[in-house]
């Protein structure tokens, strides 16, 4: 056992066991919440796959053909994902991981270390694909009454299918790290990845796939199928996997594609191992080197900060936070994807053809305006948990600097709050106002939504800052991990509940107002008072959440210092 590569995976197993045995407060709640969410997603995927398969079943041979095509498409999508994920994961497992400093000083054969790291890379890169694809294949199998061999073949297909693209990704990383220093390569890859994802999302949306659902815009059938089939080349593992599974779904066996899949996976493993033995150490050695890094000075931030009416403490905290955030590509590159999603969101409102249902258009528009408020609130919560909640923890091991300085925790936390509020408010206010403009909703609703977002931003940014101070993790390597921590999950639950309550408090009086306005009738005094009470309750609730969270955060930080 001690000579096998699996021995090197033991610390991960033992660490997980120890983590499970020594539970921290909130672990059970978090496990329960994630468990429920996981089961929900699993069930939805299973049901979706089963429904599509059942629908296709009605078309006999055409259904079979589409299912076969669908399986190849499914694997093709994952192929690209796995290759990219392999590149990024291999950077960490083969070159940047801290435990390499221990393992590389031990007398371990290069081959043994390679297999251990590669197994880790494959597992980390592909777990999400496996989790996604399992309910889909189960759904297909159950509806098609597939034989037991289908499930066995699925397992035997997924393993080599994951190995091939991850091996290609790892090989690219090996090459990259021998050309660029590893840390620079990671930044470059992250940026490229998010730019790529953002452009794919925008491109897919711009070709307006919903038009395919309209009979009048369908191309001729042959053209449609040839378009569908064009990217599926028989030279790719995704095609082999699709064919292999389709054959076993029909109770058969496809030795050609099974052989192609397994032999390619084997060749990839051996080839990669030879390359690793030759180039890993030189790449790792380069990744340890710290040549003078090039970075942007962002002197503009200093200039702008000097013009702001801030105390020296708050000004310096703001400058430091901004510079650290902008210099860390892994922090801001995710914003690119968020902007892409926002553009699509707004584009959807632009192409929304509500004129097709004239009787309903006014009503639907106003319902959309409220949905839009909820959506903007959800975007707000997501951005806050990812960027605002970790702000205190992001001080990391340097937090001693704040604690030993004559800086009041109140000043410190409020500085974090304003730093978070300005961009978040700008983002969500733009989203709400622009979407309502594109929808051309009633001016009253426009004003209500714009104001509601201001108050929601105050409440949610305050909540994220306060909870971030109450549940900090100064030892976290990456602030993005914190969204899944106890405090992060607690924030999301409270945030979603608050958004729902605020929409209800704002939605009912707004729709009432529009109802009376549409019928040109005066609003009864009691109803008017109730409407006013609802608006006032929304204001009180958001302001209380905001101030109470901040106060609680300051108290927690003060307690830490005492």
């Amino acid at each position: 056992m001690k000579g096998a590569f699996t021995y090197l995976l033991l610390p991960a197993v033992w660490s997980s066991r120890n983590r499970a045995a020594r539970r921290q407060p909130g672990d059970l709640t978090r496990a329960f919440l994630f468990g429920v969410m996981g089961i929900g997603v699993f069930a939805a995927l299973f049901y979706g796959a089963a429904w599509v398969t059942w629908q296709l079943d009605g078309y006999e041979e055409l259904g079979d053909y589409l299912l076969r095509l669908g399986l190849s498409w499914l694997f093709m999508t994952f192929l690209a994902f796995l290759a990219f994920s392999g590149v990024v994961t291999a950077l960490s497992t083969f070159f940047l991981s801290d435990d390499l400093r221990l393992l590389l000083t031990a007398p371990i054969a290069a081959r043994r270390l390679f297999y251990a790291r590669f197994a880790k890379t494959v597992a980390r890169s592909s777990w999400m694909v496996i989790v996604f694809i399992t309910p889909v294949l189960l759904g297909v199998g159950v509806v098609r009454c597939a034989p037991a061999t289908f499930y066995l073949t699925s397992a035997l297909t997924l393993l080599p299918f994951a190995i091939i693209p991850v091996a290609v990704g790892t090989a690219s990383t090996l090459l990259l790290v021998n050309v660029f220093p590893a840390r620079r390569a990671r930044d470059l890859l992250m940026l490229m990845g998010f730019l790529f994802a953002a452009s794919v999302v925008i491109l897919v949306r711009m070709i307006r796939p919903e038009q395919l659902m309209r009979a009048e815009s369908l191309p001729d059938l042959t053209g449609f199928f040839s378009t569908l089939q064009s990217p599926l080349t028989p030279l790719l593992p995704s095609f082999w996997a699709g064919e292999l599974l389709f054959a076993s779904l029909k109770g058969g066996w496809d030795p050609l594609h099974a052989g192609a899949l397994w032999s390619t996976a084997l060749v990839c493993c051996v080839g990669l191992r030879i390359a690793d033995e030759r180039w890993h150490f030189s790449g790792y050695s380069r990744s340890q080197e710290a040549p003078k890094a090039r970075f942007a000075h962002f002197r503009g931030i200093d200039v702008i900060a000097r013009t702001l009416p801030l105390s020296p403490v708050r000004r310096q905290l703001l400058v430091k936070d901004m510079k650290i955030f902008l210099r860390d590509v892994s922090q801001w590159s995710q914003l690119l994807l968020l902007f892409a999603l926002m553009l699509i969101y707004l584009y959807n409102f632009r192409v929304l053809d509500l004129g097709r249902i004239p009787y309903m258009s006014r009503f639907v528009k106003n319902v959309y305006a409220l949905l839009n408020l909820g959506m903007a609130g959800f975007v707000l919560a997501t951005v806050a948990v990812r960027f605002v909640f970790p702000m205190v923890s992001a001080e990391g091991r340097a937090f001693w600097l704040i604690r030993k300085s004559p800086v009041e925790m109140r000043d410190f936390l409020w500085s974090k709050f304003w730093t978070g509020l300005v961009p978040v408010l700008l983002l969500t206010e733009t989203l709400t106002v622009a979407a309502n403009e594109l929808l051309d909703v009633d001016p009253f609703l426009k004003t209500v939504a714009a104001l509601a977002i201001v108050f929601l931003s105050l409440a949610l940014v305050g909540l994220a800052t306060g909870l971030g101070a109450r549940y900090p993790r100064f030892t976290a390597d990456n602030p993005s991990e914190l969204a899944g921590s106890y405090g992060g999950v607690a924030f999301m639950i409270v945030a979603v509940l608050l958004i729902i309550v605020i929409i209800a408090l704002v939605g009912w009086p707004s729709t009432s107002y529009l109802y009376y306005q549409l019928r040109h009738r005066p609003i009864p005094a009691l109803r008017l008072a109730l409407m006013g009470a609802c608006f006032a309750a929304a204001v009180v609730l958001t302001v209380t959440t905001w101030l109470h969270s901040m106060r609680s955060g300051i108290r927690a930080l003060d307690a830490m210092s005492n």
Binding site: G3, S15, N18, R101, P107
Partner: protein, 250 residues
């Protein structure tokens, strides 16, 4: 036991280690001194097989690190300045895993782990997670790991940093005992009193080059002073005018 021959490490156009040579004999404690950024850690990392030298070679117990890395590493115990320990493992688990990395197996492992934990006064923490350890305890645990496989040579980077006087005393005793058993120890340190007290020979490195080598007396002669204190010699050799500037600034 440890032989470093014409070792060079370049980062682009910057030469961090510039053709240094030194040897550490069995049973010798060899002090490796130099100001910050002189190239001590880079040299030790090349010895441990964590960095690839630009040229030159390192031989441990007759095995060249580049050509026979497994044999060389099996003979070496390395204690880095910033060690990695799995935080979610207990001290016992970490040491048992470490023993496995060096091919130690069987019933003897548990006894050896206990022996090391006793030696470094960590036995009662055997079943505690490493994340709950203080800096000094982690440092001692890393030393347990380094000596666990009975290495013939040890390379240690700043062993006294963060240790309380009792911990420092303990480490000094262990190093002395190991050297009496024939283990060659190359110790990089800033604590000149420790070097003076423990090392039979010294190498002083400045800007990647060895500028003085030999016994404390040899170094004193090279520094050209009658002062007994290693600190004065060190400052004369490495440029001590900064201290005066510091005085003025304060």
């Amino acid at each position: 036991m440890i032989a470093v021959e014409h070792l060079v490490k370049q980062y682009g156009r910057f030469t961090a280690v510039d053709g240094i040579s030194l040897d550490v004999r069995p049973g010798e404690i060899h002090g490796f001194l130099g100001p910050n950024g002189a190239g001590k850690t880079t040299t030790l990392r090349m010895m441990a097989g964590l960095l690839k030298p630009t040229s030159g070679r390192v031989v441990v117990n007759g095995h060249e690190v580049a050509a026979e890395p497994e044999l060389a590493k099996a003979s070496l115990g390395f204690i880095p300045d910033r060690p990695f320990i799995y935080e979610k493992l207990t001290a016992g688990e970490f040491l048992r895993f470490h023993a496995g990395l060096y091919g130690l197996d069987g019933d003897g492992v548990t006894d050896r782990v206990h022996e090391m934990l006793d030696l470094f006064e960590l036995r009662r923490w055997e079943h505690e997670l490493v994340e709950s350890f203080s800096h000094g305890m982690k440092q001692r645990l890393v030393m347990c790991a380094a000596f666990l496989h009975r290495p013939r040579a040890v390379a240690v980077d700043e062993p006294m940093v963060g240790l309380d006087p009792r911990g420092a005393r303990l480490i000094k005793d262990v190093f002395r005992r190991m050297s009496e058993r024939g283990v060659a120890i190359l110790m990089s340190t800033h604590t000149l009193e420790v070097a003076q007290e423990m090392c039979q020979r010294l190498s002083i490195i400045l800007k990647g080059k060895i500028i003085a080598q030999g016994t404390v007396d040899d170094v004193r002669r090279l520094a050209g002073g009658a002062d007994d204190h290693l600190t004065s010699m060190f400052l004369r050799l490495t440029g001590g005018s900064a201290l005066q500037e510091l005085d003025e600034a304060v």
